[in-house]
């Protein structure tokens, strides 16, 4: 195990950035910390790097452990280690390249600042920088200055600079956040391939759920200073553990209603779907969550529990068409349909249709993870 975070909390004045976080990161893994801004993900990354210190643990708690509030690298407590001693490669959202140095000097920086006893020789440094330039596909760019590079190239240089010190752990803080969509996509794939080659334990912070799901081995979903769920991309996407997770990972329709004996009792909507995956059997007021692609649309009321709606808007851009429906109660519902199905239905704006959830999820209020 590379990194272990044991019961770490962090408060800034009245603001709680992290509340009792436990996390284990295996060696060679690429883990994404995913959450909205203010969820604490960057604070956690900075604490792992040593740029921030966790709060001292409160020993008043009943099951307090003396290792609470500690960060461990390969089993060793790093609390007393400075950022430099931890040997982490840190990549910033805005690159933080040294503007007045060439690309070559930027990458060589971490090697050149070492004390003479552990500093590689000049030719070794040159060799290593050239290998890294090749790795980031920027051979021949060594003598350029950061301002002469594009955003994507700069971020690759920043990554090479971090890798030059052969870090034990690579920490990436929103590395693609400042880039445009196309570059972001290609860098994402490149990063994943690079990880397959190098297998450096990597922690990536992002607010982009698509990025997290695509790149990471495991996704840690964070919200309001806490971890909501940890799991593989498929797990968190298909088996979200909380309302927050399903809402944050992709689009979702929310219906209000009531669950009784595993059946959804009509709320404002008149449906009686039997395919509910109820996580609890409480009969209190509930919301049911249905992803846009987990719906079907028919022109006739084929099922007794199908809901009537009018077609408001159809957007055919993408693999699936996005259809916006409006119910009689003026609720907006989004349905994603493959283009061929849409063509088969031949829907028109303003038409009356019937939709029905194929699969839905419920999170009982008392349900906790």
């Amino acid at each position: 195990m590379s990194v272990e975070v044991r019961s770490v909390s962090k408060t800034y004045g009245n603001f709680t950035a992290l509340r009792d976080i436990h996390l284990k990161i295996e060696t060679g893994e690429l883990v994404a910390l995913l959450g909205p801004s203010g969820s604490g993900k960057t604070t956690l990354l900075r604490i792992i790097a040593g740029m921030d210190t966790p709060d001292a643990p409160s020993t008043a708690t009943a099951n307090a452990d003396e290792t609470d509030g500690s960060i461990r690298f390969f089993g060793e407590d790093v609390a007393k280690m400075s950022v430099g001693q931890r040997r982490v490669g840190f990549v910033f959202q805005h690159y933080a390249l040294f503007k007045h140095m060439t690309v070559f000097d930027n990458i060589a920086f971490g090697l050149r600042v070492r004390p003479r006893s552990s500093r590689p020789s000049k030719s070794e440094i040159t060799d290593r920088v050239h290998r890294l330039l090749k790795l980031i596909q920027l051979e021949g760019f060594g003598q350029r200055f950061p301002m002469q590079l594009s955003g994507g190239q700069r971020q690759r240089v920043a990554l090479a600079r971090a890798l030059a010190i052969e870090p034990r752990i690579l920490l990436l803080d929103e590395p693609f956040g400042a880039l445009d969509a196309k570059v972001r996509q290609s860098l994402r794939e490149w990063l994943r391939r690079l990880h397959e080659e190098m297998h450096t334990t990597t922690v990536l912070v992002t607010h982009d759920q698509e990025e997290a799901l695509e790149v990471a081995d495991r996704v840690v979903v964070m919200n309001q200073a806490k971890i909501e769920q940890v799991g593989s991309p498929a797990e968190v996407f298909h088996h979200p553990a909380s309302e927050f997770v399903i809402d944050f990972l992709g689009n979702v329709n929310v219906f209000h209603g009531r669950i009784a004996g595993g059946n959804f009792q009509p709320g404002p909507l008149s449906t009686n779907s039997s395919q509910l995956q109820s996580a609890g059997t409480s009969s209190s007021a509930n919301k049911i969550y249905v992803r846009p692609h987990e719906m079907k649309i028919a022109r006739m009321k084929e099922d007794a529990d199908a809901i009537e709606a009018t077609v408001e808007r159809i957007n055919r851009a993408g693999v699936n068409a996005k259809i916006h429906l409006q119910t009689k109660q003026n609720d907006q519902v989004r349905v994603d349909l493959p283009l061929d199905q849409l063509d088969a239905l031949a829907l028109e704006i303003g038409e009356r249709v019937y939709f029905k959830p194929i699969q839905a999820r419920v999170f009982a209020p008392d349900y906790t993870i």
Binding site: V88, F92, H94, A96, L97, F98, F109, V113
Partner: protein
């Protein structure tokens, strides 16, 4: 920039443009350029011989020396202070930080004569520390230390004021990057921070020096105008002028004026450098 210019050109009628340009140039020529020229003219009107004698006279040499000492001490000290203040206020957060930042501007806000009087009240013989210092044989007021102290006070904000906004804008990510790569605090400062702020430092030092050499008010209060001892260049010019030694006064004045012109040129060049740096930053 270019598009703004074009717009103004096409909107305003020709006579408005010429009126504004003419007024500006007129003011500049009559109030700045001509008087400056007169200084040089008056300085050498009675011939180069008089000019050289006026500058090599014992009390003139002494005034030049004292001005150099005052600037030589206050500029490095205010450079160090400015760097420390900028570092402290931009890289750390602590209670009373915004108060400290506004306090830095105090010497700009109060009249230099008040600054001089403050030092007289503190270090003068009738002041708080004057008697104690006098018993140790140290005289501050009406002596060289007072002149230096007053100069330090009035030139206090120059470097700090140049650095604080720049360092605030740059943030500390580059420093964090250097530290995460294993650089020590000193290496980070020398190799990362300093190159980013060197032009701003030079700019601040330049303005600081110009003010240190030219300060009259505060220095005049703490100096007793003893010729050949506690007169700086501006004080000596004033004394000579009051004695109707016009040629000598203008000869010394021409030195300060030359320094002023050099400062202006260097300032313009540095501003271009800083501008370039800003453009670079925006693109990064």
């Amino acid at each position: 920039m270019a598009s703004h210019k074009l717009k103004a050109d096409s909107v305003d009628p020709w006579w408005v443009r010429w009126l504004l340009i003419g007024a500006t140039v007129g003011f500049m020529v009559f109030l700045l350029v001509l008087p400056l020229g007169v200084i040089f003219w008056e300085a050498i009107r009675k011939g180069w011989g008089v000019y050289v004698i006026a500058l090599t006279d014992r009390s003139a040499r002494n005034a030049i020396m004292l001005s150099l000492i005052a600037a030589g001490i206050s500029v490095p000290l205010n450079f160090l202070f400015g760097l420390a203040a900028a570092w402290a206020t931009t890289k750390y957060s602590f209670p009373g930080k915004s108060l400290l930042i506004s306090m830095i501007d105090l010497p700009f806000a109060i009249s230099p004569i008040i600054a001089g009087l403050m030092y007289v009240l503190v270090f003068g013989l009738q002041g708080w520390l004057g008697a104690t210092l006098a018993s140790w044989g140290i005289q501050v007021i009406f002596a060289v230390p007072g002149v230096v102290l007053a100069t330090i006070f009035v030139t206090f904000p120059f470097v700090a004021r140049e650095l604080i906004p720049l360092m605030q804008e740059q943030g500390s990510e580059e420093e964090w990057a250097a530290i995460s790569l294993g650089a020590s605090g000193w290496q980070t400062f020398l190799k990362v921070t300093l190159p980013n702020i060197k032009w701003a430092i030079l700019y601040g030092v330049l303005l600081c020096n110009a003010r240190a050499m030219g300060e009259f008010g505060a220095v005049s209060v703490v100096s007793s105008n003893i010729r050949g001892r506690t007169n700086t260049i501006p004080l000596q010019i004033d004394a000579l002028y009051n004695d109707y030694k016009t040629a000598a006064a203008f000869a010394l004045a021409s030195i300060l004026a030359t320094l002023g012109v050099i400062t202006l040129i260097a300032k313009t060049l540095l501003e271009q450098k800083l501008e370039q740096q800003n453009v670079q930053e925006e693109s990064t």
